[in-house]
Amino acid sequence: MADALIWLVALPLAGALATLLLPRAAGAVVIASGLGTSMAAGALLYGVATHGPLHNAIGGWSAGLGIALRADGLSALLVMMTALVALAASVYSSAYFNTAAQRARFAPLWLLLWTALNALLLSGDLFNLYVTLELLGLSAVALAALGGSAAAVQAALRYLLVGLLGSMLFLAGVSLIYAGYGTLDLAALAKVVESGPVVWPALTLMTAGLLLKTALFPLHFWLPPAHASAPAPVSAVLSALVVKAAFYLVLRLWLDVFADAVTAAAAALLGLLGAGGVLWGSWRALQAERLKLLAAYSTVAQLGYLFMFFPVLQALPPGPARELAAGGLVILALTHGFAKAGLFLAIGVIQQRSGHDTIRELDGTAQRLPATTFAVALAGVALIGLPPSGAFLGKWQLLAASFATGQWWWIVVTAIGSLLAAAYTFRVLGHAFGHGPYPNQAVTLAREEWPALLLGATAAVVLGLAGAPLWTLLEAGA
């Protein structure tokens, strides 16, 4: 079972190298690596569910000297989400990129990105995290620039600079931690870290760097242009997975490794910024003229919800209430991953059919593509947080924890944010009803439409109905 940890990093990496060596088979290699990695992710999830946290010291080197890979419930779930989303996007990309040259350029970067994501989620020490963060950032930037247009390149460049800035701050924080504690291993640090003048500047630096990468308001400015100009499968993965990886790190550092050092005021600050993200992101999404911009701003908003969990988690004493809320956070993050990826893939289909993604002119296209419009609707349901999506359960936990800790202001923000999300979702869906041409059957382009539909369905239905084991998994793998 612990071998799965190695396969998860090695398979996509080997696939990336293979696509460089065999550019003409690039498409097939992507799908093959994708399937293999997904199976390894499934094995990992199963392993963590049955045996608890898994650990693999690469090369047999002990901790402190070698690189250790570690998986608990949280990382196993995120690895699974990464695998399913990336697989769906890979299937879609095989139809999106229709020339061999495009595919040959796309494939190695794509698989490198996947490698970096897996390695980041499974890393057990701070420096490995830095390296994987950089790998993630570089491959993401290169993919974002694949769009080719001047706007895409400019957005990619800004993304790169912001990412580098963030990484440098992160590394500065890592160096302070090493100076203070002499170890970079996360498990070891979790035992010895305590509140103090060493940890606070270090945690602040690392968090600042990560907040830049996760696009928390007001550091979100780079995200909408980058995600909106990238090719559709890339946008899907950027919004669903890449920013989630940085968020995962904030989560890991704040709730796990440096839990003792976190103060209520700091958590409240994160929550406040999150609330700003929810309101500002939702507002801008409502005003967006283009579908991709709408989706990008929606990401900013949805990440805001995730950050609003921090102050309530901080205020709850360790125990079942806290576990419930933490599980709500995870299921909300997972649902957003699937929903946003599905949304971007659906937008990609629309954009390729009609040559544009302007919302006001959607009428004919939305009716010509009923399955894709339904995928948008499913994603929208999950973004709003309506039942039976996983986001409903997640928002429920946020509301319940806010009521329980008396921090009622998060409730107001959540309510307004959800209503704004409904407004911008149904603004788009309203175009699906009209007098445009209607095909004789629902799904017209299988390879392009099914990935979006399945992702949307997972977010809107599967996670909500089958989500109960998540809480047991998080506890078992803790």
Partner: protein
């Protein structure tokens, strides 16, 4: 020598701060890229200072490894950034 370690470390912090300031305030792309590199150098200085273990004792190899890795990463990232800048300026009129 304790004072040398502190000197290196604080200089590192100062360089990071200067680089950060330049990265945030500069508007020209090339200057920003250089500024981020300067930030990187500052962090490396900090790491080298952390590696010091006392007079006559071999320094801690772990921070040195971190610095080497960091330099490699910084070089690759700078290369990508410069490639993108070139691509940007290869399309006159689109800005």
């Amino acid at each position: 020598m304790l004072t040398a370690q502190w000197l290196y470390g604080l200089t590192g912090c100062l360089v990071v701060a200067l680089g950060l300031r330049a990265a945030l305030l500069q508007s020209a792309l090339l200057q920003r890229i250089v500024a981020v590199n300067v930030m990187g150098s500052g962090v490396f200085l900090m790491l080298i200072a952390v590696a010091y273990r006392g007079p006559g004792v071999a320094p801690d190899p772990v921070p040195h490894a971190l610095v080497l890795t960091g330099i490699v990463v910084a070089v690759s990232a700078t290369a990508l950034a410069l490639a993108l800048v070139r691509r940007l300026h290869a399309e006159p009129g689109d800005g």
